[in-house]
Subunit: 356 residues, 2 copies
Amino acid sequence: MTFSYEHLFEFTKNILLKIGCSEKDAALAADVLLSADLRGVDSHGVARLSGYVRLWEKGRINAQPKIRVVHETPSTAVVDGDGGLGLVVAPYAMQVAIDKAKNAGTGWVAVKNSNHYGIAGYHAMMALEHEMIGLSLTNASPLVSPTFSKERLLGTNPISVAIPAKEQPPFVADMATTTAANGKLEILQRKNLDAPIGWVQDKEGHPTTDSNGVKKGGALLPLGGDREHGSHKGYALGAIVDIFSAVLSGANYGPWVPPFVAFLDPDPNPVGDGIGHFFGAMRVDAFRPADEFKTHMDNWITRFRKATPTPGNEKVIIPGDPERELEAERRNNGIPLLDPVVEDLSQLGERFGIKM
Amino acid sequence: MTFSYEHLFEFTKNILLKIGCSEKDAALAADVLLSADLRGVDSHGVARLSGYVRLWEKGRINAQPKIRVVHETPSTAVVDGDGGLGLVVAPYAMQVAIDKAKNAGTGWVAVKNSNHYGIAGYHAMMALEHEMIGLSLTNASPLVSPTFSKERLLGTNPISVAIPAKEQPPFVADMATTTAANGKLEILQRKNLDAPIGWVQDKEGHPTTDSNGVKKGGALLPLGGDREHGSHKGYALGAIVDIFSAVLSGANYGPWVPPFVAFLDPDPNPVGDGIGHFFGAMRVDAFRPADEFKTHMDNWITRFRKATPTPGNEKVIIPGDPERELEAERRNNGIPLLDPVVEDLSQLGERFGIKM
């Protein structure tokens, strides 16, 4: 079934009001959450709404957080999210980074005591309208094994970087540091299809094509898939995201990151507070005149766009192009939701007296 | 043949003095260059010395550069390398980043008009003794095709991040954003061995196992290898390194980056000056007390080190461990050089009246 953006926005906002969010926070969180659906990252969108509500029911999400800066220098800050929705904590922290950048040239903000923040790209893209480059990192529940390990010690720990251009649309990379994001696996699971080798290992640590391998105690693999194809690099990238997000901020890291699912309890001996994020904002004109920079970005993008394609492929893709095109399409024609998601949201709506 | 570090250091320094470097610059450049040999990145070490000299002969390296800051804010700077050796320009720029961080919490320096800077990790590691996290990026001669392209538009564009710990040695990642670095291919070429699928594509853009594929007009592949295994992520990472290093600084980017080899001329219509780098330094205590941070880094490292290994593997490796162990070994027992490298250096020495 397909729903208009406006309909899903109102629904999401109303649910969040019911759990006690302020009007402003509910609207912001709905906007962040639905940007995932608009941009085609369906696993991180409204499908997760009932998951957030279950965490709130368990007392693991604070609907009325007092988010605040607890440490700062001219170009840095640490934000304590007070257990709030990451969907609200993250834009707050990114705004602090942007404000720092206005004065110091750049701003870098590590966040503790937060929760899942939706898609990384939303927050990085906040920098664009200020003629800044945006960076957004977060750690997440451990589903990924480092190279040579059977244990799940890292999340899919995404990296997003958004870079403004002039006439061209911005460059927006937003990627898990694994070969494939968990959402890609879920698509295969629903279709009963195998996964390519390099995406998953089984419980014993052997490569597997079983798309249910992670559910059976296996793990997602770092970008590269195996050592021969550079998985130690994907592992290092995921580790850097974990350390910047959580060791710098004072959040939980590695295997201590609290699980997103409410039926699994967090580690009884945490090493920090909640999950962690890391944001950066760099004023383009802290390096060279903004117009000059953006003109060269246009040239960069145009040159890559017109690169000769390999046989069977149409063109080189600039990071952010597919998501932007899908967003335009879905804003016009609506957001398709899978039947189980519609069912889940309908039940959620019934509980709170809100019609889906 | 094996040579002591001291011998190779004196040799390298004396060659650099002969081309006109100052005593200080020659010693610094020799130190940077040989750190690659010590750490096992043999392709980036003394084997490249005659390549630097040939670029100098062509007038493409300035042995007496006036390196200077041309633009700055409290947390940023742009450095013009004046065509100097990257081996000298890069440590200068990283020091500017460190000095900025002392005052502003962090420092971020983009560099133009530079040349090949040795291993990325050397410069990132400069931050460690200041209780800072170091970041080092550089673009490089185009040898890599973006996903879906036949053209070489990116260099192997490495990312290095160095993070201090307390009792544990530091975390030091230093990686090309390709599946495999060019040096790995060279090893296979010398042994007449095939490369795994995912490292190289041929001139037509098809995957190939030919380890000479790049020399025959093909290209290195971004980390991931192909679209199904996430090569669009490796491509995006390489692109980010290119943009930070060169579009921010005013250097050449993408296919315009001047080739390292002196027998290929740079593009007659450059889009900037020389090649570009990007450095960052973040004071750990700009986020939380340094001792607290370092204690948690020890905990992070220890936990990952003792993760249960997969069958047939001994342990999980912390980024930087193998290089540090090799460095200790080679400082004691000497640096092995291949016969063609020894021959090349001997000839270089003869020309300048310096005994190899």
